[in-house]
């Protein structure tokens, strides 16, 4: 069994707006025997800089990877975007000598060098592959049998399939299996793999809202009582923006959007307060009262 110790890469969105994800993830991982080490130093993964300067994105990601190499620890991210970039760059630099040399040339400026000694994982990889389903199953104290939920895995944790090489990007099932462990029923719905649209919101606020509205509509259509996410950026689109979507399209969803560790934590017997459920914009108290 691999050592359950990771350098936790929080990214920017979580400390900015989505602490409830971090709080619940730390609580749950601690109970599952996963040790998290803080980054000694941090800069953004590089994702937001890719559209304007690809080399800067590569170098910012590589700098974070070098910090992990110095600690001799694998990285665990909570954010799909951070995972996508750090994992992609890590693989590209390991495999492509030409790009590695170019990036190392930039890194020389700050006295660093990419060596390629670590791997990058997302929370759901850590849970599914390293902690393992059995151990999670053993930790369940209060199965959430009455609940019927839907999941949104998001994009960068499975796509591009050739690079991520985890799960089936056309029909990802890992999060569904993780949800099933909690005792909650995970419902299928239309267009599960559709993007939340949030990366577009910086230049166009309409399209992401339409995409999110459609997602919430499909989730509601199957009678799901909550939507479960594993990315702070997707979560913002469905939770933080839900009231705005309701107002704009004259809809009434009121679908609580929980981070997966919140759902798991409830099943592990933790209290809603411990798991920061009160920090969610869409009130989840009715959902909790069903348990």
């Amino acid at each position: 069994m691999p050592e359950l110790k990771y350098l936790v890469f929080l990214g920017c969105v979580i400390p900015y707006r989505v602490s409830s994800y971090e709080i619940s993830a730390r609580k749950v991982l601690d109970k599952l025997g996963v040790e998290l080490v803080e980054m000694p130093e941090f800069n953004c993964c590089g994702f937001p800089m890719d559209p304007i300067n690809h080399d800067l994105m590569l170098t910012m990601a590589a700098q974070n990877l070098c910090l992990a190499e110095q600690q001799n620890l694998n990285i665990m991210t909570l954010c799909n975007g951070c995972f996508g970039v750090l994992n992609h760059v890590n693989k590209e630099l390991k495999e492509d000598k030409k790009i590695r040399e170019k990036v190392n040339e930039y890194l020389k400026e700050i006295g660093m060098e990419f060596k390629g000694t670590i791997t990058v994982k997302h929370l759901i990889h850590v849970l599914a592959q390293d902690v393992g389903f059995e151990k999670i199953k053993d930790a369940i104290q209060k199965p959430l049998n009455p609940l019927r939920v839907a999941q949104h895995t998001g994009c960068h944790v499975v796509r591009p399939g050739q690079i991520v090489g985890f799960d089936d990007p056309e029909n990802p099932t890992t999060l569904k299996k993780l949800i099933a462990l909690t005792g909650a029923k995970c419902l299928d719905y239309m267009d599960e793999t559709e993007c939340c649209g949030n990366p577009t919101s910086g230049v166009n606020s309409e399209i992401p809202l339409q995409l999110a509205r459609e997602k919430l509509d499909h989730v509601r259509a199957v009678g799901a009582q909550a939507l479960i996410t594993v990315c702070p950026f997707c979560h913002m689109m469905y939770d933080l923006q839900q009231t705005r979507i309701e107002r704009k399209f004259n809809e009434k969803f009121r679908i609580p959007v929980l981070h997966y560790p919140q759902l798991l934590g409830l099943a592990m017997g933790m209290s809603p307060n411990e798991l920061a459920l009160k920090d969610l914009r869409v009130d989840a108290s009715e959902l909790v009262s069903l348990l």
Binding site: E41, F42, N43, P51, I52, M60, I99, E109, C195, G202
Partner: protein, 183 residues
């Protein structure tokens, strides 16, 4: 993004007639030398990318297939002067579904990088770059949040090495771009 439909149509080339003077015949060769756009010539215009694109479903002008065709034709000016290339949400569905493995989202990224280098960038990216340069984080995290972290028992946030970041901004040429933009 506030342009009216006619202006947009004009710029993105929905007009039927292409003028020879709009075409830069060398563009496709230049583009295919850039990392990420190597396979632009492999696109045979099947349209799978566009059919599966979440943004194309909700926007009248964003058509990945068309952007690739315009690149192949050398309509550089039309491509680089249009806001539409900034709409891609990088869901990478087009990368996974393309039967020719063209890497469409990567080509869109190359087009964006080129636009930034030769022209300008959307304001939001200036802001993100400026935040990162000043704090290491893409968003300026309010002091109240930092205080709340303490109350919630969360570890303090790791600090950025701003000196190193400044060096990387400079080495990769973004500092220069931002100076040009006046940020």
């Amino acid at each position: 993004m506030s342009k009216n439909k006619e202006t947009q149509e004009k710029e993105i080339g929905t007009e039927m007639v292409l003028k020879m003077s709009d075409i830069d015949p060398k563009f496709k060769y230049e583009i295919s030398k850039l990392p990420g756009a190597e396979k632009v010539m492999l696109c045979f215009q099947c349209g799978t990318c566009t059919a599966d694109c979440p943004i194309a479903r909700f926007d009248d002008f964003y058509r990945p297939r068309k952007l690739i065709r315009m690149t192949q034709l050398g309509l550089k000016d039309k491509l680089l002067s249009n806001d539409v290339i900034w709409l891609c949400s990088t869901c990478f569905t087009c990368i996974d579904h393309c039967p020719q493995d063209v890497g469409i989202a990567s080509i869109v990224r190359v087009l964006r990088n080129l636009t930034v280098k030769e022209r300008n960038m959307p304001v939001v990216y200036e802001e993100l770059a400026s935040n990162i340069r000043k704090t290491g984080y893409a968003y300026v995290i309010p002091g109240l949040r930092l205080k709340k972290r303490e109350e919630e028992g969360l570890p303090s946030l790791p600090k950025a090495n701003l000196e190193n970041l400044a060096k990387l901004f400079k080495a990769t040429g973004l500092s220069k771009t931002l100076e040009k933009e006046g940020t």
